[in-house]
Every structure is written in structure tokens, then in C-alpha cells.
């Protein structure tokens, strides 16, 4: 009782107090983390993260839309003119400069995530009767973004080109997305 207020004792108390708060914070955080992490994709959701598509039936000038991770993926078998138009485009005029070569694995097939990079609508242009916009590729009806034959943004509010999903050709006409 006599040395209650010595500096040593005060240091000891400070240390105990700080370490108690620190340990308490670690404990609270480790309890809060499962509460937050349970909202992340579950194991079964992650297991559904790849899709295989057979392109055998997809004729030149046709397009199909498949679902991957709950989102539409556009696959278009481009015509020679469309390929030429996409390749000839100079990078100078582009908002998000990318050559067509950077955006395809096989120049016949363009594979895109069909979600406008502005605010997430699905652009038109997959069906033959759709409005395709001023550059002949895709046109987003929500806020008027125009995409070209390579899915690059040319006009309108979208900041970047249509996203290219991760995919690979398992054979000439079989692709695996994801």
C-alpha cells in the first residue's frame, strides 16, 4: 500500500490497461469478421464460377449470350468487315485505348462481359434487329453509350471498354469462360 503511486506502478498500470484494450479490440474484431465475411460469396457460389460454351453452331454474323456468374457474356462471330473495321481504328480517338488484338484470342470471336461499364445495364446489339449504336457494335439504352465492333467505348458516359472475361479455347470451337 505504501508505494501505490510510484512511477513504476503507474507504468505497470498503463501497460495493463493498454494491453487489455488491445486484446479486447482483437477479440471484438475476430468476432465481427465472421459476421461480415458470411456475406461474401459462399463456397458453392464460387464453385459455379466457370461456364463452357460450344461455338460450332455460331455462324458468321451471329451472336449468343451466355450466363457466367449471373452476368450475361456476349460472344459474337464477327464478319470480315467487322474485323477489318475494328482493326483499322486508330488508337488516338479512343477513350480507353486498346488495339483489337489485345481484346481477342481468335479474331473471329469477340467475347465480352455484356455489362455497360457506366452503371451496369445490358447493352443492345446481340439480336439482328437491335439498335447497335453509331459504331455498329453495341448500344446501351440506359444512358446512351456506344461501343464498336471490338466492344470499345466510343461515345457516351461509360468510362472504359466492355470488360473481357477470363476465358480460354479448349478446342477451335469450345471455350471455357472463367
Amino acid at each position: 500500500m505504501t508505494n501505490k503511486n510510484t512511477p513504476d506502478d503507474k507504468n505497470k498500470r498503463d501497460f495493463l490497461q493498454v494491453s487489455t484494450y488491445a486484446l479486447g479490440a482483437v477479440g471484438a474484431a475476430s468476432f465481427v469478421w465472421p459476421l461480415i465475411n458470411q456475406m461474401n460469396p459462399a463456397a458453392d457460389t464460387l464453385a459455379l464460377a466457370s461456364t463452357e460454351v460450344d461455338l460450332e453452331q455460331l455462324e458468321e454474323g451471329q451472336a449468343i449470350t451466355v450466363t457466367w456468374r449471373g452476368k450475361p457474356v456476349f460472344i459474337r462471330h464477327r464478319t470480315k468487315e467487322e474485323i477489318a473495321s475494328a482493326k483499322d481504328q486508330l488508337l488516338d480517338g479512343l477513350r480507353d485505348p486498346q488495339t483489337d488484338e489485345e481484346r481477342v484470342q481468335n479474331e473471329k470471336y469477340i467475347v465480352l462481359v455484356g455489362v455497360c461499364t457506366h452503371l451496369g445495364c445490358v447493352p443492345l446489339g446481340q439480336k439482328s434487329g437491335d439498335v447497335k449504336g453509331e459504331y455498329g457494335g453495341w448500344f446501351c439504352p440506359c444512358h446512351g453509350s456506344h461501343y464498336d465492333h471490338s466492344g470499345r467505348i466510343r461515345k457516351g458516359p461509360a468510362p472504359t471498354n466492355l470488360e473481357i472475361p477470363q476465358y480460354s479455347f479448349l478446342s477451335d470451337t469450345l471455350i471455357k469462360i472463367g
Partner: protein, 417 residues
């Protein structure tokens, strides 16, 4: 404006307009609490914390649960296998229900032992019994949600209790089910009610606390606080004591969650519900067993139901059954004896509720049931007439100071403060 109470000017600005900080300071910081509370007074705050844990884990579980008879069981299994930390959250929630009842039952027996239900705390006690009833309803409906065999047949048996009501019983059961058996409409409404009732409990808990803070806590010797010398501020003395108790509780709780999560459950509930087959041995969760024993002890359908509900109803009127002016068992030798008989009787009822309803178990169940009501309805009202209570101390401080070898030292230390 009176002189600022708080150092932080922002806090003062807010407090002048919305006196929330004054309120918290008054009720959680300087709140005068009897200085002689023992560890049995930890269980109120533990129950409150468990309620919060149940609500928090329940909300996140509901984000992953599907209330449909075709998906409910699988969605719970998905929580166990696929949802990130889902197993942990479900085991916390599942064992949390059991621990909630453990804590609340200790809290109730604490109240019985120290006479905490007596004037002027009758409404505080009644609100507590109401919380117990709401907890039972919530726990029962929560147990139905995984849609296992025990869920289904538990729901069937408990809802059928209402069919014992004369004339309208069958109609009430059909109304509860939303059909002619426990089925999808039943599951949907149970999910809805299981979600909302805990918030009703929070409301009643707030009333429970308002009633508590009107006269403050009872204490182990059960006499009123006579002045400042009998109390200490809630903070830091009881906040630290409650936190220490919480850490012990959390350690035991965590041990259950991590090492024996299914100990208090029933394996049959991992079999999907089958309306065509009843499990051979059907028992409710352990916390309902004493009441279940009373239900089965009465050889009459309506009678069994009435006695089972009566076992809780008798608690509502307890403050008027026990008229002794002395609160604490410490000064009531006979009451203390009968208190322990009641504890043994309740444990016996719990054991008998888990046993098959045949042979000696039926006889013992009837005896234990009879004694339960005998305690509340006959012993308690008679006791004050025959019991000679021990003399009460003058104040909470008196026995502590005289017990000290050197009373003057204690007084001197107090003056220094």
C-alpha cells in the same frame, strides 16, 4: 445553461439538446449499486449480452436461410458447409439458445433465493417472467426452422397442445398451422415470428431495466440501501465485475461451440423432416424438459396443458404468495431449506421429462409435479406464520464494518477519500 458536465464541448452541445449522455452517466456510470452484490448478480447483464449475441448471429443467419419446406433443411446444411464461417455462426446461435436459458434460469433462482421479487420489485419480477415466456416461444419457433425430424415433430406436438382447449381447440390449431398439418405456411409464419419476437424481448428488457433502476438492485442480505455508505457507483466497480464474469462465461460458451457443439442438441434433427414417420423417442430441448414432465404427469389432455402453463403462471403471482417481509434466504432458515427442495424438484422434473413416460417415471413425475405446486401454493403462503427469521442487520454496511478486525481503520480510510 448550468455549468458544463462533460469535458468534450461537442458532447455538451448534444447533451443540452438531447440529454442522452446525462442519461447514460446517470444509469451506467454513477448509478448507485449496493456494495455487497455477489457473483450471482452477474447473470442479468450476461442474459442481456446473450440476447444481443442471439440477435446479431440470428440476423446474419437469416441472410442465408430459406423459409420453405423444400429448401429449409438444405439451406441450413449450406450454412454449415458453404457459407463463410456459417458453421461458427450457426453453432453460436444454436448453443447460444441453451446458454441463454442456463443464464436466465440461474438469474431466476437468484431472484428466488434472495427474495428479489418482493415489494417494491413486483413489476420488475413480472416483466422477467414475461421475458421468460417470450424466450420460450422464440426458442420453440427457432427450433422448427432447420426442418429436421425434431423440428417437425416438436412443432406438431407443441401446437397440438392448443387442441386441448374445449370447443375451439381444433379451430385454433388449424389457424396456427394455416392448414391441416404442420406444413409450409406454418414454417413461414414461425420464421417471421422467430425474427420479430427477439425485438419484442428487447422492448420488455428495457422495461425490466427501467423497473430495476427505480429502486436499484436487491442484494444478498435483502435489506434496503440506507444511504450513500451502502452503495458504490456502477462504474468502474460493477462494469469490471460484469466484464470479468463475461470473460468466464465466454470461455465456457466458446468451449461448447468449438468442442461439443451438438451436446445439447438432438441427433434426430439432422434427419430431414418426414411427416409420415415420428421418431421413436421424442423429447423437447433440455430447457423445456421440466415443463414437459409436468405435461405428461397429468393423465388428462386439458389438465396437462393447464398445469404446464400453470407452472409459469404461478411465478407471475409469486410476490403475493410469499408474504414474508424478509427478503433474503440468509435470514429465513426454513425458506432456505424449501428453496433447495425446489431446486432439487426442478432438476428432478428435468430428468423425468427426458425419460420415457412409463413405469416408475410416471409416478415420480406426478410426485415432483405435485411438490412443485405444493411449494408455491401451500408452503410459501404458510411459511411466514411458522418461520422465525433471524435478526436483520441494521444496514448493508454494518455487518461488514463489525466483521472487520479494526473498524476504526475502515472509517479512517473512508474519510481520506
Amino acid at each position: 445553461m448550468s455549468k458544463p458536465k462533460f469535458k468534450n464541448p461537442v458532447v455538451n452541445w448534444i447533451d443540452y439538446r438531447l440529454p442522452i449522455f446525462t442519461f447514460m452517466n446517470h444509469e451506467l456510470n454513477e448509478y448507485p449499486t449496493p456494495k455487497n452484490l455477489n457473483y450471482f448478480w452477474n447473470f442479468g447483464s450476461l442474459a442481456g449480452i446473450t440476447l444481443v449475441i442471439m440477435i446479431v448471429t440470428g440476423i446474419v443467419l437469416s441472410m442465408n436461410y430459406t423459409a420453405h419446406i423444400d429448401y429449409a433443411f438444405d439451406s441450413v446444411e449450406r450454412i454449415m458447409r458453404d457459407v463463410n464461417h456459417g458453421w461458427l455462426l450457426r453453432y453460436i446461435h444454436m448453443n447460444g439458445a441453451s446458454f441463454f436459458f442456463i443464464v436466465v434460469y440461474i438469474h431466476i433462482f437468484r431472484g428466488l433465493y434472495y427474495g428479489s421479487y418482493k415489494a417494491p420489485r413486483e413489476i420488475l419480477w413480472i416483466l422477467g417472467v414475461l421475458i421468460l415466456l417470450l424466450m420460450m416461444a422464440t426458442a420453440f419457433m427457432g427450433y422448427v426452422l432447420p426442418w429436421g425430424q425434431m423440428s417437425f415433430w416438436g412443432a406438431t406436438v407443441i401446437t397440438n397442445l392448443f387442441s386441448a382447449i374445449p370447443l375451439v381447440g381444433e379451430s385454433i390449431v388449424t389457424w396456427l398451422w394455416g392448414g391441416f398439418s404442420v406444413d409450409n405456411p406454418t414454417l413461414n409464419r414461425f420464421f417471421s415470428l422467430h425474427f420479430v419476437l427477439p425485438f419484442v424481448i428487447v422492448g420488455v428488457v428495457i422495461l425490466h431495466l427501467v423497473a430495476l433502476h427505480r429502486f436499484g438492485s436487491n442484494n444478498p442480505i435483502g435489506i434496503d440501501v440506507k444511504g450513500k455508505q451502502d452503495t458504490i457507483p456502477f462504474h468502474p466497480y460493477y462494469t469490471i465485475k460484469d466484464l470479468f464474469g463475461l470473460s468466464v462465461f465466454a470461455t465456457i460458451f466458446a468451449a461448447a461451440v468449438f468442442f461439443f457443439p451438438n451436446f445439447m442438441g438432438h441427433p434426430d434433427n439432422y434427419i430431414p423432416a418426414n411427416p409420415m414417420v415420428t421418431p421413436a423417442h421424442i423429447v423437447p430441448e433440455w430447457y423445456f424438459l421440466p415443463f414437459y414432465a409436468i405435461l405428461r404427469a397429468i393423465p388428462d389432455k386439458l389438465g396437462g396443458v393447464l398445469f404446464m402453463f400453470g407452472a409459469i403462471m404461478v411465478l407471475f403471482v409469486l410476490p403475493w404468495l410469499d408474504r414474508s417481509s424478509v427478503r433474503s434466504s440468509q435470514f429465513r432458515p426454513l425458506y432456505k431449506l424449501f428453496f433447495w427442495f425446489l431446486v432439487i424438484d426442478c432438476i428432478a422434473l428435468g430428468y423425468l421429462g427426458a425419460m420415457p413416460a412409463e413405469g416408475i417415471y410416471v409416478v415420480l413425475s406426478r410426485l415432483a409435479t405435485a411438490y412443485y405446486f405444493f411449494h408455491f401454493l401451500i408452503i410459501l403462503p404458510l411459511l411466514p406464520k411458522i418461520e422465525s427469521t433471524r435478526p436483520l442487520p441494521v444496514s448493508i454496511s454494518t455487518p461488514i464494518i463489525t466483521a472487520s478486525s479494526n473498524a476504526s481503520t475502515v472509517m479512517a480510510m473512508r474519510e481520506k477519500k
